[in-house]
């Protein structure tokens, strides 16, 4: 565990999460969620849980994002208000 890297990544994760729920463009929110998942996966690799990180990268950043984008393609891209 590299403590400084860990801290920086986690702060980045928090910022991305905040931006993801505040942005009005849903597509970018989804991409931010993807980035969030991916960074989280990096954090986990860094915490020695490779399997979980692998899964999160495949599922959180991959499958979930694909699903969200698929759903978005059939609904609206922009949030109201």
């Amino acid at each position: 565990m590299i403590f400084e890297l860990d801290l920086v990544l986690l702060f980045l994760v928090v910022i991305i999460a905040i931006v993801a729920i505040t942005t009005r463009d849903l597509l970018s929110a989804i991409m931010l969620l993807c980035a969030y998942s991916f960074l989280m996966a990096v954090v986990w690799v860094e915490m020695h849980s490779v399997d979980v990180a692998f899964t999160e990268a495949a599922v959180g950043a991959g499958a979930t994002t694909a699903f969200l984008i698929a759903a978005l393609s059939r609904t609206k891209r922009w949030e109201k208000k």
Binding site: M1, S49, D51, V52
Partner: protein
């Protein structure tokens, strides 16, 4: 700012307060001796007259009685680790031999002052030390996932199956596709 977000903020603050209240007692991050990672304390008892018995591999009756009172299985033998520290194992009864774990490291006994502190080893220990021999698989996560807790994994697979059927039910293409 609508009503809902105010309510949500209140909830969030409440939840945050709860977390702050809790945080003090959560084991420190990365602590190798925390409960999930090492052992959890069961009880302590007066050590007088017990140390010799333990050293000779005999389990004192008073210790046994106390463990039994808690409701855990009784140890079958004790091995000395070093001065003031012992380890107790459980060997299953003859009738239960087809259950896999043939010998279980279960208790950790340490002498602190004139008290014996009895700990229960965490699950971690067995997974790390015995898993490889019991399953012939090097990846711990895999063997816990697919063997020790395989039933959870069956459940998990059923969850994803359920999701698949659920989406089928909800969104199935109604028209016939040309083949």
């Amino acid at each position: 700012m609508n009503q809902l977000s105010v309510a949500a903020l209140v909830f969030v603050l409440f939840l945050g307060g709860l977390f702050v209240y809790v945080a003090e007692d959560i084991p420190a991050f990365g602590d190798p001796d925390s409960a999930p990672n090492r052992y959890v304390k069961l009880f302590d008892m007066d050590a007088t007259g017990l140390v010799d018995d333990l050293d000779q591999g005999v389990i004192p009756a008073s210790l046994n009685a106390k463990i039994g009172a808690v409701g855990l299985p009784l140890p079958s033998g004790v091995a000395k680790l070093k001065e003031g520290e012992w380890e107790a194992v459980i060997i299953p009864e003859e009738t239960k031999q087809h259950f896999y774990p043939k010998e279980q490291k279960y208790y950790f006994i340490a002498k602190e002052g004139d008290e014996l502190w009895v700990y229960r080893y965490s699950l971690y220990l067995r997974f790390v030390e015995e898993g490889k021999h019991e399953t012939e698989v090097p990846n711990m996560v895999t063997y816990i996932l697919a063997d020790y807790r395989s039933y959870d994994t069956l459940g998990e697979t059923t969850v994803i199956f359920t999701a698949g059927v659920a989406v089928l039910l909800l969104l199935r293409r109604t028209g016939k596709r040309p083949e």
